[in-house]
């Protein structure tokens, strides 16, 4: 069974990913490859909640991800995965569509939503 650390390590190997972290929706850090995860984890929690609120208010069905674009091109992405949030810092020279495709594929293996692969939340054990 894949652990949170395995998942984070796998995401970190995706071409274009400079670093990542995985937190539970209560803020508990499960794994990270970034030096200062606390900078990102609070923002991820806020992002998840706000994206959900917007989704319900406007009538959309599912939030795939959020991104914070930066002048230095090290954009920050937040992917809601069931009761977890995955944060990714992008390398400034990466080709974004390829990186996102690879990340979505990996998320599809562990998420019970928006995927054909049915794996429980306990996958991150």
């Amino acid at each position: 069974m894949a652990t949170a650390k395995d998942f984070v390590a796998r995401i970190n190997r995706v071409d274009g990913v400079a670093g990542c972290l995985l937190i539970k929706d209560d803020g508990v850090l499960l794994g990270q490859t970034l030096e200062d995860p606390e900078v990102y984890s609070t923002l991820m929690l806020i992002s998840g909640g706000q994206a959900d609120d917007i989704m319900h208010k406007i009538g959309f069905s599912y939030c795939r991800h959020l991104s914070f674009s930066r002048l230095n091109n090290r954009h920050f992405y937040v992917f809601p995965i069931n009761n977890y949030l995955l944060g990714i810092v992008q390398r400034s020279d990466c080709y974004i569509p390829d990186m996102l495709d690879a990340v979505y594929r990996l998320i599809g293996r562990v998420s019970t939503k928006r995927t054909d692969v049915d794996v429980s939340n306990d996958e991150f054990s």
Binding site: G27, V39, Y40, T42, L43, L45, I46, S47, G49, Q50, A51, D53, I54, M55, K57, I58, F60, S61, Y62, C63, R64, H65, L66, S67, F68, S69, R70, L71, N72, F76, R114
Partner: protein
């Protein structure tokens, strides 16, 4: 101001856009009527909070993008307190929209929209305030917060964290800043609490918050 966002609508995949002011609400929109202005105002509020939170982590933040199954929302701060956001089909051209945002931002900064045009929310419709209230002479407003009041506000902020979690600090600071601008006086405390209740957005939780802060208010 409408012509600014009408130019965006020409971009393939862009459904429409809005300009939102954190103090005045929705200023202008060209989104289809299915997107009701009241809902867009709430969305604008959420986006403004999200953008501010992002700015706290990344000082070089440019755009905020929320990718949903059906649509993508992109937001950019035009100037302090003013946000533009566009709702697009998933197939839209991000680079083209981003470039248009850049041009629009320049035009907004240099075009003097903050005075004449921007003064009337939703284009030419005068707001109820403009219609009913005569212009008041400037009043002296007490903007300095006494140490006792500061202490009370800190206690209220801590109590809000029990209701809203990590978002509380940001929400409280934003609301309190505006409240202080209008006069940091305990006699106006009801107005601050009312604003916070609106931000909480849940009657039950708002009641819970009032119970939490009641002892602090009593002891003040």
């Amino acid at each position: 101001m409408m012509h600014l966002i009408d130019e965006l609508k020409v971009i393939p995949g862009v459904v429409g856009a809005c300009i939102f002011d954190t103090r005045e609400g929705l200023r202008v929109t060209n989104l289809p009527v299915i997107f009701k202005p009241e809902r867009l105002s709430v969305v604008g509020k959420h986006l403004a909070k999200l953008y501010a939170a992002g700015r706290m982590s990344f000082s070089d933040l440019t755009d905020l993008t929320l990718t949903y199954d059906e649509s993508v929302i992109i937001a950019r701060e035009l100037e302090k307190n003013t946000l533009i956001f566009a709702i697009c089909d998933p197939s839209f051209n991000h680079n083209l929209l981003s470039m248009s945002f850049n041009l629009l931002q320049e035009e907004f900064k240099s075009g003097g929209f903050s005075s004449a045009e921007a003064a009337s929310p939703m284009e030419d419709q005068p707001s109820p305030t403009q219609q009913q209230e005569p212009v008041k002479p400037p009043e002296t407003v007490n903007k300095s917060v006494s140490p006792e009041l500061k202490q009370l506000m800190e206690e209220m902020k801590s109590a809000l964290a029990k209701i809203l979690g990590p978002m509380a600090e940001f929400v409280f600071d934003e609301v309190a800043e505006e409240w202080v601008e209008d006069g940091a006086d305990f006699s106006r405390m009801e107005s601050l609490i009312g604003q916070l209740e609106q931000e909480i957005g849940d009657e039950k939780k708002a009641e819970e918050y009032k119970q939490l802060i009641a002892p602090f208010l009593k002891n003040y």
